[in-house]
């Protein structure tokens, strides 16, 4: 039996704990304030300014006048913008598929035990260590129509009769741009998925093998569901990178030949820094940011749903 003193002291303790928790929360918020100010100053403020500029006509001298949605109307009636948007979607889809599948392949391979596994795992990080612009330059030389290593290899193996110059062809240039960007991103994707694979308890595949599951069945019904949260994160990151890509494409083709690889970020660059049309450039940034935001939101929703499924199974 509980004494009266004990029963009265419990709410008091709870109340004191609650007061303490609130104080801690407030104090924690205060401690986070410097970082919050920085984030707001460096991310939110420029973001807000960009949104405001997208509704204005802005001269280089700093004069601003409201134009409502005119910049967006101009954008969506500009053939070049529509072309860049289409190219961006094509690029992003290719980038997402190649980088994710290649990364998954790398991770599955490097999760197996073999001689030199440590070296292979170390090498996986090399492309990720290269800056995007460097990746563009490396690939430019790799696929060069005169001295490119890819041409040399294909020629030596008798797969081509003469050297090809993919960057001088509209479709070829886009394919190379996708492969170059995806090659780097696959490295990071591989690392994330490999980390996910390491968390699979050893007993699970062993038990599946005892139950007679073959390699494909183990991958399909065990590995893939286990990796689903990681893969959703990977898909979010790769989609955003795909839509935002600039450096690699710029180093490879400057958006050419013609406007074959002119993605939205290149269109944005030209509006801001060549045409110095700050309003239109900001509107492009808002569209590009909006696409990334919507896709991010959708994927996060998917992530929570997949987590719910996993938790439900557990």
């Amino acid at each position: 039996m509980t004494s009266t003193a004990e029963t009265t002291s419990r709410p008091a303790t709870r109340r004191r704990t609650s007061v303490r928790a609130q104080a801690d929360a407030r104090f924690g918020l205060l401690l986070a304030t410097p970082a919050l100010i920085l984030v707001l100053g460096l991310v939110a403020w420029p973001g807000l300014r960009t949104a405001v500029y997208s509704l204005q006509r802005v001269s280089l001298a700093g004069e601003e006048s409201w134009t409502g949605l005119n910049n967006f109307r101009t954008l969506f009636t500009d053939e070049r913008f529509i072309h860049s948007l289409t190219t961006t979607v094509l690029y992003a889809v290719g980038f997402l598929l190649v980088s994710t599948l290649l990364g998954l392949g790398f991770a599955l391979l490097l999760n197996e035990k073999f001689h030199g596994q440590w070296l292979a795992r170390s090498l996986l990080i090399v492309p990720w260590a290269c800056p995007w612009v460097m990746v563009g330059m490396i690939w430019k030389w790799f696929v060069d129509g005169e001295v490119g290593a890819l041409n040399a290899a294909l020629y030596q193996f008798g797969l081509i009769d003469s050297y090809a110059a993919p960057l001088s062809d509209s479709t070829g240039a886009l394919v190379v741009a996708v492969l170059a960007g995806a090659w780097r991103q696959a490295s990071f994707t591989g690392l994330l998925i490999l980390a996910g694979l390491q968390t699979i308890p050893k007993e699970l595949p062993q038990a599946a093998m005892v139950d007679g599951a073959n390699v494909w069945q183990r991958f399909r019904h065990l590995t893939l569901p286990w990796l689903r949260p990681v893969i959703v994160v990977v898909v979010i990151i790769n989609t955003i990178f795909g839509f935002m890509q600039f450096d690699t494409i710029w180093a490879l083709t400057q958006g050419g030949p013609g406007d074959a690889t002119s993605v939205l970020s290149i269109y944005l660059y030209e509006q801001l820094f060549v045409y110095t049309n700050i309003g239109l450039g900001s509107a492009t940034a808002v569209v590009l940011g909006g696409i990334a935001l919507v896709l991010g939101f959708v994927f996060v929703k998917l992530l929570y749903r997949s987590n719910a499924i996993t938790e439900g199974v557990e």
Binding site: V19, P34, G62, D144, G145, S168, P257, Y275, T276
Partner: protein, 454 residues
């Protein structure tokens, strides 16, 4: 024991040093550190001139950084102000500089691309130079044709030269002799015929040119000028489109690409690829700035020593394009500070304190760069800086009589036109647009951009 848990608003006065108090101190410091630059950034970025003499700020792209430092040290030794140098990588220089200036940063002196120079003055980022002592003398010392890059039609002087160059056709003399070609080409038709002959004799890519999107506009002007076609009139109207010879030039250009007389990668290849091709003997002709001859020669490939320059560009007129980048003064420099900055501009873009072209001589030694002053070609130090394979009297003649800066190139809308040229000419070369359509579209682009002031 009565333990008090202080809330944020009730700090105990008698509190001793504890983890929490330490964190509070850190909090206060943490709030101050980011707030200061942010508050500064939120301040008025509008132009307030800085009249205070002192260390000047200069922004340049990263070409020969050690040499820039040496020049600035030399400026200081001659009684100039100390200079705080900020270097920006060549790739992305324009956007970086624009962002800094638009953000309100005060820069006293900066390198700029000639095509952006008027725009920067109009935006209030760069100042005019008319009121500085000696500005008129500086322009009077130049080749008359070159001065149009620095003085606008309305009389404003907006920049001084950083360096100048001319487009020339470089060629491999030995290749021509070996394949029975007695003399280098004098017309475009001869260029085409010789390239066909060389191609069938086994030269993989007889003609090399830096035909990437960003540089195609230079080539458009080079090819038009060589045939005596006026690209733009005095008011900047695209009169090239009214000249029937323009279509012939474009047809020639298209045939050179589509008939395989250039490298397959010519639309995306860097100059380094073409230099290598010339040095290795994979190309016979290379059209680019005159100073690339030195690069080809110093590459020391098996054919490097056989490459020379044709000082008259192939075409009925033989005229070529004179290019060059500029240096400008920041609009926020005023009073004595502006005078000090002008002194640096004169040193860097004209003569030093003792009347010598020391900066241009320095660039000539480093990279065979030129300046737009006739006096340079009489200066023994400058002439001695060029290797013997340059024929300096001929180079001078090209500058004085056979080149054009095309003054429209500094119009505020011209950078936008350059982008259009890149897109449209590459599409034409790839066969995605016909010649007439391309010429008409370029003229329309120029008119529209000029009308919009972009």
């Amino acid at each position: 024991m009565d333990v008090r848990y202080p809330t944020a608003g009730s700090f105990p006065i008698s509190a001793s040093l504890s983890r929490r108090n330490l964190l509070r101190g850190a909090l206060a410091a943490g709030l101050t550190v980011p707030a200061v630059p942010l508050l500064t950034a939120c301040g008025d970025s509008a132009a307030k001139t800085n009249d205070t003499p002192g260390t000047l700020s200069m922004t340049a792209w990263e070409a020969y950084p050690e040499q820039i430092r040496e020049l600035l040290a030399s400026f200081k030794n001659q009684g100039g102000s100390p200079v705080d140098l900020s270097l920006i990588p060549n790739v992305g220089y324009g956007p970086a500089l624009q962002t800094r200036l638009q953000g309100g940063q005060a820069i006293d002196v900066f390198y700029n691309f000639a095509y952006a120079s008027t725009k920067y003055v109009d935006a209030g980022w760069a100042g005019t130079l008319n009121d500085f002592p000696g500005a008129e003398d500086l322009l009077a010392d130049m080749f008359p044709a070159s001065a149009a890059r620095h003085r606008l039609a309305d009389g404003r002087i907006i920049s001084v030269p950083y360096f100048s160059a001319v487009h020339n056709l470089m060629y491999n003399e030995s290749h021509l002799k070996k394949h029975g070609i007695s003399a280098p080409p004098t017309t475009k038709e001869e260029v085409y015929e010789q390239c066909r002959k060389l191609k069938s004799a086994g030269v993989p890519s007889p003609y090399a040119g830096y035909w990437t999107k960003q540089f195609l506009e230079e080539y458009l002007l080079v090819y038009l000028l060589a045939d005596g076609i006026t690209p733009f009139d005095d008011k900047g109207a695209p009169v090239f489109a009214d000249d029937p010879r323009t279509q012939d030039v474009m047809e020639w250009w298209k045939a050179m690409y589509q008939d395989g007389l250039t490298s397959k990668d010519v639309l995306t290849a860097d100059p380094g690829n073409h230099v290598t091709a010339m040095a290795q003997g994979n190309s016979t002709f290379f059209e680019l700035h005159h100073y690339f001859l030195q690069i080809v020669r110093t590459t020391e490939g098996p054919e490097s020593g056989n490459v020379t320059i044709l000082y008259r560009n192939p075409g009925t007129a033989g005229t070529t394009l004179q290019i060059g980048e500029v240096i400008q003064i920041g609009a926020k420099s005023g009073g004595q500070r502006a005078q000090d900055a002008w002194k640096l501009l004169k040193f860097y873009g004209w003569k030093d304190d003792v009347g010598k072209y020391s900066t241009f001589t320095s660039w000539a030694k480093a990279a065979a760069l030129l300046g737009p002053y006739p006096g340079l070609f009489k200066d023994p130090d400058f002439l001695a800086a060029f290797p013997s394979y340059y024929d300096m009297p001929k180079l001078e003649n090209t500058f004085a009589n056979q080149s054009d800066v095309v003054p429209t190139r500094v119009a505020p809308w011209y950078a936008s036109f350059q982008v259009k040229v890149g897109d449209r000419i590459q599409a034409m070369l790839l066969g995605q647009a016909d010649v007439k359509e391309t010429v008409d579209a370029l003229a329309t682009d120029a008119r529209n951009l000029a009308a919009a002031g972009q």
